[in-house]
């Protein structure tokens, strides 16, 4: 294991590591644009230069492509390095439009940060900037501003090395290079395409669904888990910061919507990536909600509904429960503790693959389109979903069950978060919360448990499932 010194700190690095990797492992920061820990090393941006001590004096070279050697002495911030970096920044911004004022990346842009950190001066070029396409549609999901592109090729390498769609390339050359999608259209079908938006170090690749929607500093990320499939990728759900709430009338919806979804890096589950379905999960979570309890389709007070459900449970001879694979481990455990002995319990899939959706691949996407099947099965077993014909009470929890499978004559107690036609067919209906309205955990297909955190308050009239189960079992509490 070679030993080297970086900025006076002696560190040990595995042979074959680069100076960039050794520094990153040791917590020493070296700036980079084109390097990415999960992608190949093109060494094209030159911002990662470091100084290396030598007999003839200090020489500078890029850290991302330099293997460590025994006894190496590296400086990340010498005068020579600072001068070179500054010149490199001048070069990289030579044709950059600096239209941060209208750029969605502003606030989380590496080029902005490095400019303040390593250059800080106006352009020394007297030549007019080269122009390129702005607002170019790279795919139905991604808008490209080619003037902002610094040609790091991260996006291109992502489609070659990670998503393997080979969907992007660099056309032409030099200062008229253009990022372009392959003509056969495969980029539009890349289910991981939106990751290039995150890894673009500048504001060249923009999400159409987030385009000019919010300045990122008005938003706050809440750690969550994508419910889109049993991979259970950890994600950040971005929504308006409470201190920046919009106060104009009619703005409640904007204050309480998910504006964008980004990966929350997690080596145990999804690494730094998520699929496009995860990006769009706000559409699933933003569907119209059920917000009132009902008795046979008529709105009812929550307490009255609880009393009615309790008497149905007490009267049943063969009660069966079909629990949700979108419920949290906490809710499932609460059900088991409160009602597990009274019901025979089956686990259902709330969601099946949609037509046209990628069912499964060998990257992230799993065929089971529910986040917590493993958590539910761990508590209630693997029995297939077959309702016994003599069941006289069926408690259904969550969407996705065909009510035609419920034996005729059986009473139905239904818990659902969404406004759906089945709600009115239940003898007792309870509106329940969704994952953005509570904390909890899901267990993914491989047995890894991840936490999600509440983003928004639970709407009035919506029951908290944990408290509801206790109330249905006759314990204290009233479901709210």
């Amino acid at each position: 294991m070679p030993r080297l010194t970086i900025d006076g700190r002696e560190i040990e690095a595995a042979a074959g590591r680069t100076v960039m990797e050794a520094a990153t492992d040791a917590g020493i920061f070296i700036p980079y644009f084109c390097w990415h820990p999960k992608l190949s090393v093109p060494g094209n941006c030159r911002i990662c230069v470091v100084g290396v001590e030598d007999k003839g004096g200090e020489w500078v070279e890029i850290a991302c492509n330099m293997p460590v050697t025994e006894g190496m002495v590296v400086y990340t911030n010498s005068e020579k390095v600072r001068a070179r970096r500054k010149a490199t920044m001048q070069f990289i911004t030579l044709n950059h439009p600096v239209d941060c004022g209208i750029c969605d990346k502003a606030g989380e842009c590496t080029l902005q940060d490095y400019h303040y950190e390593y250059n800080g001066e106006r352009s020394i070029s007297v030549d007019a900037k080269a122009h390129a396409t702005k607002h170019y549609s790279l795919s139905p999901r991604i808008v490209l501003d080619n003037e902002r592109c610094i040609q790091c090729t991260r996006c291109v390498r992502f489609t070659r090395e990670i998503s393997k769609s080979n969907g992007l390339g660099m056309q032409n050359r030099a200062d008229h290079s253009l990022v372009r999608a392959v003509e056969d259209g495969s980029f539009a079908n890349d289910p991981y395409s939106d990751n290039v938006i995150d890894i673009c170090p500048v504001g060249a690749l923009l999400s159409r669904s987030f385009l000019h929607k919010a300045r990122v500093w008005y938003l706050k990320p809440t750690a969550s888990v994508c419910p889109g499939c049993s991979r259970g990728c950890t994600v950040n759900l971005w929504h308006r910061r409470p201190e920046w709430r919009l106060r104009a009338p009619g703005m409640r919806a904007q204050n309480e919507t998910i504006d964008r979804v980004t990966p929350l890096e997690n080596p145990a589950v999804n690494g730094p990536w998520i699929c496009n379905k995860g990006r769009d999960i706000a559409k699933v979570l933003g569907r119209a909600r059920a917000e009132t309890a009902m008795l046979k389709g008529r709105p009812a007070e929550l307490q009255g509904a609880i009393a009615q459900a309790r008497s149905l449970i007490a009267a049943a001879r063969k009660p069966v429960a079909v629990v949700s694979s979108w419920a949290s481990n906490e809710e499932l455990a609460a059900f088991k503790a409160a009602l597990g002995a009274r019901f025979s319990v089956l686990v259902k899939a709330d969601h099946e693959p949609e037509p046209g959706e990628v069912v499964q691949d060998d990257i992230l996407i799993r065929a089971d389109k529910n986040p917590n099947t493993a958590g539910a099965r761990a508590l209630f077993g693997e029995a297939p979903l077959a309702l016994p014909p003599d069941a006289d009470l069926v408690l259904v929890w969550g969407e996705g069950l065909d009510f035609g499978l419920i034996p005729a004559g059986a009473k139905i107690v239904y818990l659902n978060a969404w406004l759906q036609p089945e709600n009115g067919h239940a003898d007792v209906f309870f509106p329940t919360s969704i994952q953005t309205e509570r904390d909890g955990h899901y267990t993914n297909f491989a047995g890894v448990t991840s936490a999600f955190t509440q983003c928004f308050p639970r709407p009035a009239g919506v029951a908290d499932a944990q408290a509801l189960f206790a109330a249905l079992a006759g314990q204290a509490g009233g479901g709210e």
């Binding site: 070659r160 080979n166 969907g167 992007l168 390339g169 660099m170 056309q171 032409n172 050359r173 372009r180 392959v182 003509e183 056969d184 495969s186």
Partner: protein, 162 residues
Amino acid sequence: MKHLIPEFEKMKERYPEGFESSLVLPCLRRIQEDRGFVAEEDIVALVDYLKVPRIQVEEVLSYYTMLRRKPIGRFHLQACRNIACSMRGAEGVIAHLSRKLGVKPGQTTPDGTFTLTEVECLGSCGTAPVVMVNEAYHENMSTEKLDRLVDELAAGVRAGGK
């Protein structure tokens, strides 16, 4: 393109195994020599033959301005506009050709006979200014020589020759 595959197979032998993407450029050159340009069906066939992602072929085609995806005129006049030629009157050469043919650089005459292009140094600075006609160099060009060259080429076409 298919009829060129035996030639491509020979070229392949000069590369280590697994370096199919290195063959993209020589194959495209050969295709263009054969057809005059690279057609969509050539791209599809080449992708299929080399098993490289299509985007790599598109990148190479756009990187090298010598490769074209559209047919051009029968005679490709490439007038050098780089330093040595410019110092010896390249601007005048290009302007004269443009006037005489009635097309701007980058365009083809309506009868499909001539395409005029401006190019960078042709490596013949000692005989500047230089104009290439297809694969042949025409050196020390003057207005008279240009007129003679163009007239002869046009006459050849009219006479049905090559």
